[in-house]
Amino acid sequence: MEVFSDVVCPFCGCLCDDLEITVENNKIIKTKNSCAISLSKFMHHEDNRLNYPTVDGRRTDLVEAINESAKILASAKRPLIYGLSSTECEAINRSIELAELIGGVIDSTASVCHGPTIITEQSIGLIKSTLGEIKNRADLIIFWGSNPTESHLRHLTRYSMFPTGLFTPEGRKNRFIVAVDVRKTKLSRIVDLFLEIEPNKDFELISALRAIVRGVKIEAEQVSGIPINILKELAERMKKARFGVVFYGLGLTQSEMGDMNVNAAVGLVSDLNHHTKFVILPMRGHFNVAGANTVSSWLSGYPFAIDYSRGYSRYNPGEFTAVDLLERKEADAALIIASDPVAHFPASAVEHLTKIPLITIDQKVNMTTLLSRIVIPAATVGIEADGTAYRMDGIPIRLKKIIEPSEGILPDSEILKMMIDKIRVLKGGY
Amino acid sequence: MSLSVNGVEIEDTFAEAFSMWGSRLIITAKNSKWANIAALSMTGYATSVIMCDCEAGIEREVYESETMDGRPGVSVMMFGFSRKTLEEPMLKRIGQCVLTCPSTSVYNGLSKDQADEMLDIGKGIRFFGDGFQVKMRMSDGICERKRFWRIPVMEGEFLIEEKFGAKKAVAGGNFLIMGDSSQTVLEAGEKAVEAIHKVPGVVTPFPGGLCRSGSKVGSKYAFLKASTNTSFCPSIKNIFQSSRVPKNVDSILEIVINGLDLESVKTAMAEGISAAVEVKGVRKITAVNFAGKLGKFQIWLKDCLGGL
């Protein structure tokens, strides 16, 4: 029996790194400090696994699966590589090299979670800090369209609502917590102020707040379902905070015109820095979605939505993003890495995925593997393989390998390396 | 050798004109009444730079179809000795007389290719908006770009174009109508001014276009820069030794013409003279000059008329 301490949880963007995992005979038997989902991840990581590569549903060996994949990708005119955010940085790095090599389009799941955040960062910027700053300093925390009680289960205890820190010795008592959402949640019951707003009206509300912070008188009696006097109080509270933070989630990015919503929120925080210290942090979902954007930025210059068809990287969300490419029926082959677009894309984008040669590298059976021509099983990074992941706030943490994967099961990065080598051969070394 | 037109003697002399900077602006308003009021107000007390800050006059009325905003308007021209002495009165006069006048707007009347320089008139006026002025851009990247300033005022909004063309122009074109009575010369003068106003590019800055008191430089009084033009005063023609008033002449009026170029001034003079000589009782037409000391242009009367 072996106990691994300071294990990093490879589920959500929190990347909690204080887990204790007990392993016996190469099996995980106990976890400590895990949240419910993390527990499920560690304890069930062997359930529903893909155990061997398949081509057209037929069991095969890794070499053949790689060769077949290489043939498809090397000959495709408009190949798409998608996924990336639930794998380690080394694999992301390889994926981009592969995209470069085959002149394909590469996109990560960021495009359907915090793509609008990136678009905003590019138009007006972003005012962020690491999570420790929140823990140590924040006395006003606003959760806007984000709900850690369902998606980032230890966020409240480790980083935001409850922890004590250098300048927050009394933890929860030192903080005023606000939640803004379109429905009641577990979070909304434990905050100091809950604003239940109308769906798709975040922009208007944030704009009004910005105007109020600037001292402008708003004529309307209520905005987005919230009375003006409550907004005025909130604005005052924001200006008087010692250190404020907005944690926003998909409530902003996935509503109508997500990029403008985030834009407004970042603008508000930017304005507030004329009065006090204020930061804003996106609640990134997958454990390494931040890493996908980070690695992609240093290699290609762009965080997501990249097209290598001209030999160098080009960027245009809406043109080179996965959903759009599929919706326009442009892609003629797809490689999916650690993601399940068939389950998570809107139906008409999925439809095109069913019509092109689909290659999937994943650990478990999912809807995409069930529809793929080629399926290659992979080791679970953070459990069966090590590698780098970036926390939601951009802090890189090394994931640990705590057990051996099954025989013949390789991590994503090695599978991709084999694929790259094979395609190089097919392309005559070019 | 003197020329005679319609039996009226045209003296073989020249009007001595000089160079000034001129500009043209179009004032439009809700109707021509208010356009005229603004124009009159703006061109008031602008007869001669001897005592005024500039010379200005109404060129003509402008039809709805000609103006940028489709409203009736008036074309006004202003003259100053330099760019600066033109710009200043323009700013002041637009500010005091047009900006204040209900419903008016002001546009440039001298396009970029006609002008030697573009003056930042609207750009200067805009400060009146105290920070609430709005820049209006039109036609960028499509055709010649247009810039305006919109200034909030009590009535609503004042609109002025940003730049106004200015060019080296000609001032001081003139001729004298000599006749047998004040009634005659007034009638001839009115006819002449009417004819002159049909010529584009010229104005007659004096009241109604007519000037009854010509002046000469200096005076017997040391404090006075200019005094009455003794050579042409009929009532002293026989006691003032160097009087140039012919025997059969008992009243004289002068018409002074400023124009955007020499050609327009010449044409205007010719049209004016031709109209004047039609009136019975007009005896002679002559022009004022200072033997070439004043200006660089010598407009010979017979040349003018030859051009008709």
Partner: protein, 130 residues
């Protein structure tokens, strides 16, 4: 037949997260995401009982899921966890952002007594037939 028009919000839930980590084909996952929650008043107007199948239809597609009532959901709104069922209702148009709108779309919910909700395998088969 009774019908309500509501604004649909989709989001993550703990059960969905737990189910996901067990596996997409697991019972837990399927149970956790094939559901729509309505405000009790909207729920009552459908005249169905807790857990009964409803048909949810948007401008882009329709799907059969089970229906529950929830005080947390305001009147006129509905909630579904992320997953293949909810995704049948959304448009693939991203309006040049890469991000399809997954929250705040209008849907019609009507009772579908007796109709059977598709399983994940059936959803796959449906796709295979395309």
């Amino acid at each position: 037949m009774n019908e309500v028009v509501v604004t649909l919000i989709s989001a993550r839930t703990i059960e969905q997260g737990i189910g996901l980590e067990i596996g997409k084909t697991s019972e837990q996952y399927q149970n956790s995401v094939s559901v729509i929650e309505l405000n009790p008043s909207d729920f009552e107007s459908l005249e169905i009982s807790e857990g009964e199948t409803v048909e949810v239809e948007s401008d882009y597609g329709s799907v059969l899921v089970k229906c529950r009532s929830s005080q947390d959901v305001p009147k006129g709104r509905a909630f579904m966890p992320y997953g293949p069922w909810a995704n049948k209702l959304f448009s693939s148009s991203t309006r040049c952002s890469g991000m399809p709108q997954l929250k705040g779309i209008k849907v019609r919910v009507k009772a579908a007594k007796g109709l059977k909700m598709p399983s994940i395998v059936e959803l796959i088969d449906e796709l295979r037939r395309l």
